[in-house]
Subunit: 330 residues, 2 copies
């Protein structure tokens, strides 16, 4: 398995990306190609012990920064780690590409270099969230912020294929994220999408309210990329804030409470692992003709390692072949 | 202080609404008028001991159910607790009206009966969220799901007035909820709104990303009602799911962990209180010419009591007079 990794992408790059690559190589035995500023990467690599034949470096002199406009920077920075990585994936130099860099630029470069799968009009970013019940795939969480109902139908078909073939779910349920249960609720967009999904062959169970997502109300939850991004990032922000609040309260507490906190740690850690985004690896970019994984911008070593693993699983499970098959049956 | 309460509104009504009204009467000494099916209400009231002169009942034979279409039901069910309550507020029978019923119907009935404040084109529902730092007002969370940029500017002015005069904040910061920091990020709607807010006299600090809301990134966060509702309800759903997960883990744990959990309870309770929506009372419906508080559909006795208190505070603080003053200065 050969994975390409954007060494320069993410808030903690290139240190965290390189450390994550080495961790993935050691744990899973993959071959990783690091794309980015070669001399900088090699300097960092020297600090580690690792099987040298398992990691190589491709020089890319430019970096697309997090705040840069996506389309423009992809057009101008042809020697950026994102654009070069995508081209190398297209050429078959590796089997999948991972980036924690500028999400818009990754989506744009993937669309331009790899093109879309037949039957897909717009790519979508999917995340797999833990819920009380079973994992739930939310699509789209930021690639397509002004979609047409048809795009959500296509996301539904892709989510259905992923859930069946990769998450081994039988007849996965598909819900439309909406602020009310009834088909008459929501915007013109959600009403039209509801109608289109109802007429499809998907196991569409209607609207899913935001509070039901983490209860495991549907296997696949569809939404526009703006709303999906809010869903994802609000959860993260809230979880962070709540855990900081708790730590602050515990600091103020007496020794008895502190001992108690220490004793409950194992249970906490099990729960934290369930909620921890880093454990779940990166988000697959669905609909492009290639395996691309978008990692969180704040990815640390562990998150990068898991994103690399997610990329390999995507290839092993032949996600795109299943998606194309499913799309063709519609 | 005289508060009107929709006795029939909410998932746990009328039991929880009546119990909440009695709790508010006992704790704060307000006068509460219960609106709803009189015989049913009186039967429940008999179970309680309370100062009888402090509670009266106005009969309303109809109920607008949670799933009914808002505008249509308000037009047809003239003798519903929501429509009757709003008319009595308009007539000055009480100073503020509280409902945990069909939100759309409350917004619609309020707009029709009370009319809007001068300078307001659409009402907005505001919630005050706890954050790591200071409380944050998010507006709109569900009244206006397809707003114009001008509506968000008006929400900004109302939120500014509320933060200054009721939350005692000096020069409150106003942010636009968006999925990126830069003014060029987001949809056409957020870009236009960003421009309009930049040109206003508000202390506009630009886009606020979803993860910054609970960090206390802005005193007032503006968004369309669809996105605001997702923000609010996803947080609730996640908090519920996380606490259920934790309890499940603790059940599985050994006696040491269980003792630990018991010892940490006081710190938890402080934190839970901070996050617990019920403590924060209801959400003010901003922009209508009257004091209307929307309580959570799942309100229990305590949440109703707090919503009644929030309604009284709204009146005491002369929220609408301040809002009108602020609107006129623009």
């Amino acid at each position: 398995m050969r994975i390409g990794l954007d060494a320069m992408g993410g808030d903690k790059a290139p240190e965290s990306t390189i450390a994550g690559a080495i961790a993935a190589v050691k744990k899973y035995g993959y071959h990783v190609t690091l794309i980015g500023r070669e001399s900088q990467i090699r300097t960092i690599l020297q600090k580690f012990k690792y099987p040298v034949q398992k990691i190589d470096v491709v020089d890319a002199s430019e970096i697309i920064e997090m705040h840069e406009p996506a389309a423009l920077s992809v057009r101008k920075k042809r020697d950026s780690s994102i654009v070069r990585g995508m081209e190398l994936l297209k050429e078959g130099v590796f089997d999948a590409f991972v980036s924690a860099g500028n999400t818009g630029a990754v989506v744009c470069a993937a669309t331009l270099s790899l093109r879309l799968l037949p039957g897909v009009d717009r790519p979508g970013i999917a995340v797999i969230l833990p819920t009380l019940d079973k994992p739930c795939m939310v699509i789209d969480v930021g690639a397509n912020i002004d979609p047409k109902p048809l795009h959500l139908l296509q996301y539904g078909i892709m989510g259905d294929a992923y859930s069946k073939h990769i998450l081994s779910k039988k007849n996965p349920t598909v819900g439309l994220l909406n602020i009310g249960e009834e088909s008459t609720k929501g915007t013109d967009f959600t009403k039209e999408t509801h109608m289109m999904l109802s007429e499809s062959k998907l196991n569409f169970i209607g609207n899913i309210e935001p509070k039901e997502v983490y209860e495991g109300g549907a296997d696949v939850v569809l939404c526009d990329g703006f709303v999906g991004n809010v869903l994802l990032k609000v959860t993260e922000g809230f979880a962070d804030a709540a855990s900081k609040l708790l730590r602050r309260e515990l600091k103020r507490s007496n020794i008895v409470t502190k001992i108690g906190a220490f004793l409950t740690l194992p249970a906490f850690n099990v729960m934290k692992k369930k909620i921890d985004a880093a454990e779940y690896g990166g988000a697959p970019l669905m609909g492009v003709d290639g395996s691309v994984i978008i990692a969180h911008g704040a990815s640390d070593e562990k998150a990068i390692k898991n994103a690399v693993r997610a990329a390999a699983e995507n290839v092993e499970h032949k996600v795109n072949a299943h998606v194309v098959e499913e799309l063709q049956s519609y």
